[in-house]
Each structure stands twice: as structure tokens, then as C-alpha cells.
């Protein structure tokens, strides 16, 4: 049995090698290149913490500056590919294989590198799916993570952006992997212990905060009247009739418009307390007016948002906060909450086909998924009833035994029929299919599958796909809200009218929505400054959003 304990022995070797460049657990930043060369082995599986927002940027640059002669063939397993350095690692030949979830700002470059065979792609995951694989077949040998502060023992304080860190550390450290943290500063006592020190092997004092992307700030000044109309349709045509209280909002101007219509339009419809009381949601600045007017009981967050820290800390009745007062976010838990404890996901997409599959991949951009496919899917393991879930289940399958019938999660795709640069939202064929063929992928990267989506909302109306009884009806329901895109204009007008008579398609006029209400004056805040004022000055917008 002398072979047992090999992983512990390998970790001990790394600890000894790394220790030569450290003082206790502390690695002076000048030693970082030599330290990384000592602890990382060619072929390692490495999690370089790139979350949706928080980035271990110092460690990323240091890794990208290694010599590929010393370290090569790394397998990167990280949820976010966000910084240029994340891809430099592949360009230089330090890493070869990639499993990831989201690549927002690097979407165009990652596409070029995949086509150029610079990256060997494992798969594009949802967050929860990648986290799950950290514990089964993608367990990191080394995790390079980010936190706000550490003490001498390695106890870490992450501040509001805890995000993926507990999950990454759990999977790495308890399976004999090495955990290295970059922190802004080393202190005598951390404000709260987010990660226990005995799981953290080395700490690098960066001397400056890690990079955070303000991903969830949408300026109300850029919300259009069409988006307001679409938001009114969603509130009156979906939120109200299903009584959706527990939900997740995706990122984008359509959901920002919904958030800003709750205290005005929602109030007028008498919906306060009946919808939107519990969220799995990042702290969107546009949710401030709804919170301030008493709409929202509780919000659990995946991550934080730049500038929202003081506001969140002052609203601990709504948000989850620690003994230090600041937000505690946790992406894995919040994704689980979004999957199992929410009755609706609503978000935008780039392309929807005639079956209702949707994708954010275009042939020149691979943005990945993030959390949308997880929250935008029907959880087959759900067993607790709720009014919206049961109602949606009954609409999909009215004739079966109610006590044996699964409910359905409401999965809503919302957008204008023409998106950025007049690209049509509706297409005959997803670009994702061409990409899959070109890259010889087994699966086309589909964000929300056709059998999960329940409603599509555009400015032309709502298509309720739960009530479609055939493939043909489904196609015409989609064409029937596709506006003046080629897909929309090729509709069978008679069939679409029949679907409207049955309530499968609902137009603004069917719901008594006055087009004159589609006016920016209906927004509870019309600028970032309005949001700041609504927060009583607690929200501190990043400088790039300050235009006054």
C-alpha cells in the first residue's frame, strides 16, 4: 500500500518549492514569477479565478509572463475568460486546453483563437455545471484566486465579491490542490473570514484592489420607448397573471426597464406585494427605486456590483450581509437558488430560431453562457409547488392528473425584434450551428433550449409557447411576434390570428396597454443620477457612468 498518499506528497513538494520564495504564507510580489514557476507543473489543471466580475488580475498577468519552456500544456478550468491575459496564456503556449462558462469582453478574440486552433476547447458550461465538474472530473491542481485582504494565517476576506471563491477553494484545497490568493493588503485581523486560512497555502500582497467589471450597470438614460413597451407587456401579460413573486432577471435594458416600471406602472396595476418580492439577482442599480418603494422583500446575489457596496450594506433587511456589514455573495448558491427556488427567469438573447432555441453565439463572437442556461431551464428535480409553477404546468398539459403533473418554470426570452446594428432577433438558422460544424463540436452552443422556453416577448406581443400544441403552431407563434424581420413577415397571417384568438399570442391592445404610456416619463429613474438620488446618495456610480 506504499502508493497511497501520492497526492498529499505532491502537494508537500509544491509547498516546499513554493516556500523557498515565501516568508511563511506570504509571497513578496517581486518573487511571484519564480514562485509560480516553482509551484505550477506542465500539464496541471489550473483554475485562474476569473469570475463574472472579480478577476485575479495580478496572478493572471504573472502566469501569462511565464516562459512556455518552463510551464506548458496547462488545462485552464475557469468560469470567466474576461481579461486579455486569460487568452495571452494560450497565445504564448503556456496553456492548451480550456473549459469555461463566460467570455463576455473576450468574445471576439476567443472565437478567433478557437478558429485558429490556439485553444483546445473542452466545453462551454453553465456556471453551476462547471462548478459541479470541479468536484468530479475537472478538479484543479492549482487555484489562483482573489480576495480583498488576508491575515498572516491565510484567512481571507473577499468583501462583497465573494462570487466563485468558496467553490473553487473547496474543490482544490480538499483534494490536495494548491491555493494561492492575491489580496489587496495583508492585515492583522480580517473583517470577516470568508475563506478559512487552513485551506489557503500562499498569499500575495498586490498593493491594489483586484479588477472588477461593472457588468450589471445599465444607464436608464439609454432605455428606449420600445423597451418600455416590451417591459409593460411582460409585467401585465406574464408577471401579473402568473403572480410571479420569486424570480431572476438577466442582464440587459429590457429587464432594467421592468425594474424601473415596478414603482410606477406596476403600482398603477396594483401589483405591489403580488409580484417581484424575492430575487436571485446581482445588485442591479436599476432595482434601487423598487427597493426604496417597498416592493422587494429579499435578494440573494451571485456577486456584487461596483458602486453598490454602501447601498447594499445599508439595506441588510433586503440583502445577505456579513457581520462586517458588507454583502456576502456566492455564485454557486445563488445559481442553485435561481434554478430551484425561482419560478421565472427572464432575459435577453441574440438569436432565436423557429423552434425557439436561442443563442448568444454568433460566428464572430463566442460570449459563453454564464448563468442564463441554468436559470433559464426547467429543473426536473423540483418538487415544491407554487402558483406560477402549477399554472404553467397546467397550460402545457391541461389533460393530465393534476397531482401527478410537473409544474413548469417560466422561462421568458425578451427583446426587440431588431437588436444592435439592426440585427434581427429571429433567424432561420442559429449561427451556433455553423460554429459547431466549423469547430467540429458535438453540441451547438445553445443558451436556452426550445423545450425550456415558455414565452417570447417582443414589442409586437407575447407568444405563450406552453399553449402551442404542434410544431407548426409553435413556429407561427414565434413568427407572430417577430415583427418586421424576414421571419415575422413570412408568417401565416390567418394562423397567427387564430393563435391570437386563443390567447397564445397577445398584443399590447389585447392587454389594454396604451402606446402613449410607452414614454420615458414612466421610468422611476431616467438617469444614473436619478438612481443615486433614489438611494439617498448611498449608490456611488463608477466614474464612467457619471455624466453630470
Amino acid at each position: 500500500m506504499s502508493d497511497w498518499g501520492m497526492q498529499k506528497a505532491a502537494l508537500a513538494e509544491r509547498l516546499t518549492a513554493g516556500g523557498q520564495h515565501a516568508e511563511g504564507k506570504t509571497v513578496p510580489i517581486a518573487n511571484l514569477p519564480a514562485f509560480l514557476r516553482a509551484v505550477i507543473r506542465s500539464g496541471d489543471r489550473v483554475c485562474l479565478e476569473g469570475d463574472n466580475q472579480k478577476q485575479a488580475d495580478i496572478l493572471a498577468s504573472a502566469l501569462a509572463n511565464l516562459d512556455p519552456q518552463d510551464v506548458h500544456d496547462l488545462h485552464m478550468v475557469q468560469s470567466g475568460v474576461v481579461l486579455p491575459a486569460h487568452l495571452d496564456i494560450f497565445d504564448k503556449g503556456i496553456a492548451r486546453r480550456l473549459d469555461f462558462s463566460y467570455s463576455g469582453p473576450q468574445a471576439a478574440r476567443i472565437a478567433r483563437m478557437l478558429f485558429g486552433r490556439k485553444i483546445e476547447l473542452g466545453a462551454v458550461h453553465t456556471y453551476l455545471e462547471l462548478f459541479a465538474r470541479y468536484f468530479i472530473d475537472l478538479t484543479p491542481n492549482v487555484a489562483l484566486i482573489a480576495a480583498v485582504s488576508a491575515d498572516k494565517d491565510g484567512n481571507l476576506y473577499t468583501g462583497p465579491n465573494t462570487e466563485d471563491t468558496p467553490t473553487v477553494v473547496e474543490a482544490t484545497s480538499y483534494k490536495n490542490g494548491l491555493v494561492v490568493a492575491q489580496v489587496t493588503e495583508i492585515v492583522d485581523k480580517v473583517p470577516r473570514v470568508d475563506i478559512p486560512g487552513d485551506l489557503v497555502h500562499f498569499v500575495v500582497e498586490a498593493g491594489r484592489p483586484f479588477y472588477v467589471e461593472p457588468l450589471f450597470t445599465r444607464d436608464p438614460a439609454a432605455i428606449t420607448e420600445t423597451q418600455i413597451l416590451t417591459a409593460m407587456l411582460a409585467i401585465k401579460g406574464i408577471y401579473a397573471p402568473y403572480g410571479v413573486r420569486r424570480l431572476n432577471h438577466g442582464i440587459g435594458f429590457n429587464t432594467a426597464a421592468i425594474e424601473l416600471l415596478l414603482p410606477t406602472y406596476g403600482e398603477r396595476l396594483g401589483l405591489k406585494g403580488k409580484i417581484c418580492t424575492h430575487f436571485a439577482l446581482n445588485p442591479h442599480p436599476t432595482i434601487i427605486p423598487a427597493i426604496e418603494s417597498g416592493w422587494v422583500d429579499q435578494i440573494h446575489c451571485f456577486g456584487s456590483e461596483v458602486g453598490m457596496e454602501d447601498y447594499v450594506a445599508a439595506r441588510s433587511d433586503v440583502f445577505f450581509t456579513g457581520p462586517d456589514g458588507s454583502l456576502r455573495s456566492n455564485r454557486a448558491f445563488c445559481q442553485t437558488a435561481g434554478l430551484y427556488a425561482c419560478d421565472m427567469f427572464i432575459g435577453s438573447t441574440l438569436q432565436i430560431d423557429l423552434e425557439g432555441h436561442s443563442s448568444t453565439v454568433t460566428t464572430s463572437r463566442i460570449a459563453g453562457f454564464g448563468g442564463a442556461p441554468n436559470m433559464g431551464s426547467d429543473p426536473r428535480g423540483r418538487r415544491h409547488p407554487s402558483e406560477p409553477w402549477l399554472k404553467a404546468g397546467a397550460e402545457a398539459d391541461p389533460d393530465s392528473n393534476a397531482a401527478l403533473r410537473r409544474g413548469r418554470k417560466l422561462v421568458v426570452q425578451i427583446g426587440e425584434t431588431f437588436g444592435e446594428r439592426n440585427a434581427p432577433l429571429f433567424v432561420e438558422r442559429l449561427d451556433a450551428l455553423d460554429l459547431a460544424r466549423e469547430l467540429k463540436l458535438d453540441l451547438a452552443p445553445v443558451m436556452v433550449y426550445s423545450d425550456d422556453v415558455t414565452h417570447i416577448v417582443t414589442e409586437e406581443g407575447i407568444a405563450n409557447l406552453l399553449m402551442c400544441r404542434s410544431k407548426d403552431e409553435r413556429e407561427q407563434a414565434i413568427r407572430g411576434v417577430a415583427g418586421y424581420t424576414d421571419i415575422g413577415r413570412a408568417r401565416d397571417a390567418k394562423l397567427v390570428e387564430q393563435l391570437r384568438q386563443r390567447g397564445v399570442i397577445q398584443r399590447p391592445e389585447d392587454l389594454g396597454i396604451d402606446p402613449l404610456d410607452a414614454d420615458r416619463r414612466l421610468l422611476a429613474a431616467r438617469s444614473i443620477k436619478d438612481l443615486m438620488l433614489a438611494s439617498g446618495g448611498l449608490y456611488r456610480p463608477p466614474s464612467r457612468f457619471r455624466n453630470w
Binding site: E225, E416, F418, P508
Partner: protein, 105 residues
Amino acid sequence: MEKLSFRLTAPRCASGTRTQAIVGVVASGNLEVLLERVSPADMCTIDIATAAHGFGTVWDAVVRDFVARRSAGGLRISINDGGARPDTVALRLAQGVRKIEEPER
């Protein structure tokens, strides 16, 4: 500038008594719509001046849907378009007929 004209039979007459209404603004991606109650009750005429060339078939579809879905009889509608998307055009037209049926303030 491309000019397009439509003269369509309208199934429903615009309600209210206001003689004219204006909605929207002339701006890039936006449009101004002037509605005047001067046509025969079963007709709607629409004159478009647009900065974007070559979209005649889309305009045709948008204005025909509008006249079929909304109460537009009796109106002469003049559109000054700054290259608005069809969804914006449809919204402005819907806002215009709602505005002309409102009482004068």
C-alpha cells in the same frame, strides 16, 4: 431623402375630435409623425420622407398593418423619418392615433 406615399382604405375611423396631433422627434433612429384629420373617413393617406433608402417593402408592411389594426380612417399622416427601426415606426404610429383621439387640453 426617399419619398413614399400610401393611400389606403381604413376599416375604422379615427375617434375623437382633435384636428391634429404630433408625436416623436426628428433624430437619428427616430421619427416625427404629424396626423391631420382631413381625409375621407374611410381613407388614410401616409406620406413618408425618409433618410434611409431602399426600405419600401418594409414601410409598405408597417403602414398596412397599422391601418388594419388601428383606427386610422380620416387621417393624413406625414412622417419625417431619421432612419427609425420598424418597431419604432409602428410604436409612433400607434401613439399618434391615440393622441389625436384624446380631448384637447
